[in-house]
């Protein structure tokens, strides 16, 4: 009566596995990309960048957990990413400050001096 096949999806929903992490990471990454491409506010873009970074970090940690062979390489790299993100945020804010100084706005679409 009970077909194990019928529980396949249940198991997927109950048993948290790699795929879930990857889906979350993908969503986070995609949302980050979306934010970066749609936001005209430089700070918003920065937020998007952070989301992308974190998406990537989740990926790294998740893969290390399931295929890591008892190493912590993923975590280490993630820690680097976090450090990098912090540094990048500091830099990006500074850029935003200068951007504002030059253009009196932080609308990234206004900085199209490099248009061909």
């Amino acid at each position: 009566m009970f077909d194990p096949e019928d529980f396949k999806y249940v198991k997927f929903l109950v048993e948290i596995g790699l795929t879930h992490y990857l889906v979350v990471a993908t969503l986070l990454f995609s949302m980050g990309i979306f934010v970066m491409t749609t936001k005209r506010n430089a700070i918003g873009v920065l937020l998007g960048v952070e989301m992308v970074l974190n998406g990537a970090a989740i990926n790294l940690v998740a893969f290390n957990r399931y295929h890591g062979l008892a190493t912590v390489d993923g975590q280490v790299v993630t820690l680097f990413i976090i450090v990098l993100a912090a540094a990048e945020a500091a830099l990006a804010v500074a850029i935003c400050m200068n951007y504002y100084k030059n253009l009196s706005t932080i609308d990234v679409d206004r900085g199209d001096t490099l248009a061909g």
Partner: protein
């Protein structure tokens, strides 16, 4: 080759060698030495000519004839007319005329060369620091070579070659002071004027070559007579030239006149006489040698040589030209004030006498006058050179006068020359200078032709019976007499010898004599009676000649000095008057006795006696009636005594009366009508120079200017424009098609392509960071999708 020929050719070659030496090394030989080298060369020629002359005078007429026949001929080249091969031969024309002319040329040249050494020593002869001294003598040697070559040439062709060579020397020497404008102008004038005459000469030469088919003088004359007899060749009633059939024209006359044109140019006869007075721009020895004694006489010599090629009409043409020349130039000489110009015009006048003499048939008299004239005119010119040199290049007789004390030798030798040209002689005593006899001979013949001609032959007709009727209507009978035998060669030789060199009585009554007599009557019929004016004009000029010569002499040497300065400096140079004495003493007296018989004999040979005998012979003999002595009993001479016997005295006294006190009386006479008009006309040389300058020089310049303009406008400019258009077209093609469309097209095309591509490529470059991100993401996504698809396909 006979030794005489070798001697004559050697005498021609020596001056040529010396010319080469002087031309190449003359500058190193130095100033007096170069002159003496030339003198040595011409003296060598003189020695050779004396050798020949002495030997020649020793021979009989028959010897002379034989030597002439045996003279060698060398074929230089062979030319072809159709199937006929005509050799052009070089050889020595060995007869008395050649020998005498050769001697005359070398003797006169020797005197003048010696004189030149003295004359040139006093001249500044440097141009641009380079001495022309040796060049002068080199030219003189070249002239000597050319003149002697001309005299000995047996072929018309070589005669023409040397003819041109003497023309060249004349040009070089007239323009010797080429740094002076008038001298170089005079040289050019002489050369160009001579070209006009030589053009006619060339036409004549070509007619001879084409129709007589030979260039040898004797052969040509023989063929000419034959053709006249047969009415073929040049005498044919219908002549074909360039495909045109010409009827009714005697081409023979044209040929004779053409050849005579050469003489018109060289001997400065009437229409072309203008160059000779200007030629006096050359050094005075040159005037003496070339423009008085020898070269200008070459024209007369030529006419004498081609005498047998002249038809009666051509002879009349020659006579008319001579008559006009001797008249107008003598008249112009009256008013000249330049001592050399007076002599130049008197030369022209005397040349006119010679040409006139030849034209009326006085062959012997004309040639004899040539020889005599060469001597005394050379002497007169040397005297004038002495005067000019002594007076420091003063040529104007208005500033002279009274020079006889300063230069006695010059004065009296000049006076001898004046007497000779004036025809000094005492008729009753049969004594006189050369000019007395020679001019009298010419006038006597003219008298015969004008007054006794018809009578003479009518009388002859009574005696000479048979031959006369046979070809009564033979218009060219003259040639028949001369060359009757040419048609029958066998008989001919004997008869020719008979006819040419008779012992005095041998022939009378013989067959040949009868024929000759008959032919003589034919001459009377063929050769027209001379118009009376052609006798009277030379007679009048015989009075004018002593007048202007006496005027010239008196104004130069006698009276009071008109210019103290000139008179004060006047002096004489021994080196220069020695030749004068040689010329005056040696030649004026002896030429008559020494040369006249020789020329008379040459006349019989050269013209085959006919014409010469007929007109020059008096009326006593039949064939051998050449009057070797001047017998007053001769009818024409007897008559002439009344006409011109004392012309020299009358003319000279008249001149003395007018000019004895200088120009005072002459100035007064000049204002009287019609003398004032005559004076202006003569002073302006009868306007010949003006007319020629206006018509020919200016006319030529106008034609040339027009031609140049037309050629420039339409041809040169046309060509230039055409070229320009072609260039522009090419440039346009190259610019628009090659450059713009080709090279630029490629370059621009590349650029435009790059730009177009850039336009396309730069569209996405919005400069907006968000776009870039989008593109990057999209790109990455696409790559990922591709990878996935591929992976799925493979896997």
């Amino acid at each position: 080759m006979h030794p005489y020929e070798i001697a004559l050719i050697a005498g021609v070659a020596v001056p040529l060698l010396m010319f080469a030496v002087l031309a190449l090394f003359g500058y190193r030989i130095g100033k007096p030495a170069a002159g003496w080298c030339a003198v040595a060369a011409v003296m060598a020629s003189l020695a050779l000519s004396i050798y020949v002359l002495v030997g020649w005078l020793g021979g009989t007429a028959a010897d002379h004839f034989r030597l002439g026949q045996e003279a060698a001929r060398y074929t230089w080249l062979t030319m072809s007319i159709g199937a006929n091969h005509i050799p052009v031969q070089f050889g020595v024309k060995l007869d008395s005329l050649t020998v005498v002319m050769y001697f005359m040329v070398t003797l006169v040249s020797t005197c003048i060369f010696v004189f030149s050494v003295g004359y040139m020593s006093g001249h500044s002869d440097e141009v641009d620091g380079i001495s022309k001294y040796h060049r002068f003598f080199a030219y003189l040697c070249l002239f000597e070579f050319s003149m002697l070559g001309l005299v000995i040439s047996a072929s018309l062709f070589f005669l023409f070659v040397f003819w041109e060579l003497v023309g060249l020397c004349s040009y070089l020497l007239i323009g010797f002071y080429f740094d002076r404008k008038y001298a170089s102008d005079a040289g050019i004038k002489a050369f160009v004027t001579n070209r006009v005459g030589d053009f006619g000469f060339l036409i004549g030469l070509m007619l001879v070559f084409t129709f007589l088919q030979t260039l040898d003088l004797d052969q040509a004359a023989r063929t000419f007579a034959e053709q006249a007899h047969m009415k073929t060749g040049i005498f044919a009633p219908v002549v074909q030239i360039f495909g045109w059939h010409i009827t009714g024209v005697t081409l023979a006359t044209v040929m004779g006149i053409g050849l005579f044109c050469g003489a018109i140019g060289k001997s400065a006869q009437f229409p072309l006489h203008v160059w000779l007075p200007d030629a006096m721009a050359g050094p005075t020895p040159v005037s003496a040698l070339i423009h008085a004694a020898t070269m200008v006489a070459a024209g007369v010599y030529l006419v004498a040589r081609i005498f047998r090629l002249l038809t009666p009409e051509a002879q009349m043409f020659v006579a008319v030209i001579g008559c006009i020349t001797l008249t107008i130039t003598a008249l112009i000489a009256i008013v000249q004030t330049d001592i050399k110009k007076v002599l130049a015009y008197s030369t022209l006048s005397q040349l006119g006498y010679m040409i006139f003499g030849l034209g009326v048939g006085a062959w012997i008299a004309a040639l004899f006058h040539l020889i005599v004239h060469a001597f005394f005119k050379a002497m007169l010119f040397l005297c004038s050179g002495q005067v000019i040199e002594g007076c420091h290049h003063e040529q104007d007789i208005r500033r002279m006068g009274g020079l006889h004390k300063k230069m006695p030798v010059t004065c009296w030798t000049f006076f001898v020359g004046v007497l000779a040209i004036a025809g000094f002689g005492i008729p009753a005593l049969n004594f006189g200078l050369g000019g007395y006899f020679s001019k009298d001979e010419i006038l006597a013949v003219a008298y015969e032709r004008a007054y006794n001609w018809t009578y003479r032959f009518e009388e002859g007709a009574e005696h000479g019976a048979a031959g006369h009727h046979a070809d009564a209507a033979q218009p060219q009978a003259k040639y028949m007499l001369a060359q009757h035998h040419a048609a029958e060669p066998d008989e001919d030789k004997i008869l020719e010898e008979d006819a040419g060199y008779p012992g005095e009585g041998e022939i009378i009554g013989s067959e040949a004599a009868r024929e000759a007599r008959a032919a003589k009557q034919k001459i009377g019929r063929d050769t027209p009676v001379l118009p009376k004016w052609m006798f009277w004009l030379p007679i009048i000029i015989a009075y004018v000649t002593p007048f202007y010569m006496m005027r010239c002499w008196w104004l130069t040497f006698m009276g009071k000095p008109r210019d103290e300065e000139v008179h004060h400096h006047a002096h004489e140079m021994p080196l220069m008057w020695v030749p004068l004495v040689v010329l005056s003493i040696g030649t004026v007296f002896t030429s008559y006795f020494l040369f006249r018989p020789e020329i008379a004999e040459a006349g019989r040979q050269a013209t085959n006696a006919a014409m010469v005998v007929a007109v020059d012979g008096g009326e006593h003999g039949e064939l051998n009636m050449l009057s070797l002595t001047h017998e007053a009993a001769h009818n024409p001479h007897g008559a002439l005594i009344y006409y011109v016997g004392f012309a020299w005295l009358i003319g000279m006294v008249f001149a003395w009366l007018i000019y004895r006190k200088g120009f005072i009386l002459a100035e007064r006479l000049r204002r009287i009508w019609p003398l004032n008009w005559a004076y202006v006309a003569l002073e302006q040389k009868l306007f010949f120079d003006h007319v020629y300058n206006t018509v020919f020089v200016a006319g030529t310049q106008w034609v040339v200017a027009q031609a140049a303009r037309l050629v420039d406008t339409y041809i040169i400019d046309g060509l230039a424009n055409l070229l320009a258009r072609i260039t522009v077209g090419l440039a346009n093609f190259s610019g628009w098609v090659l450059d713009a469309a080709g090279i630029d097209g490629i370059v621009n095309g590349l650029g435009e392509t790059a730009e177009g591509l850039g336009d396309i490529v730069r569209r996405p470059q919005t400069g907006r960071i968000r776009n870039y991100l989008l593109f990057g993401t999209a790109g990455a996504s696409l790559v990922l999708i591709a990878i996935v698809i591929v992976a799925v396909k493979i896997g």
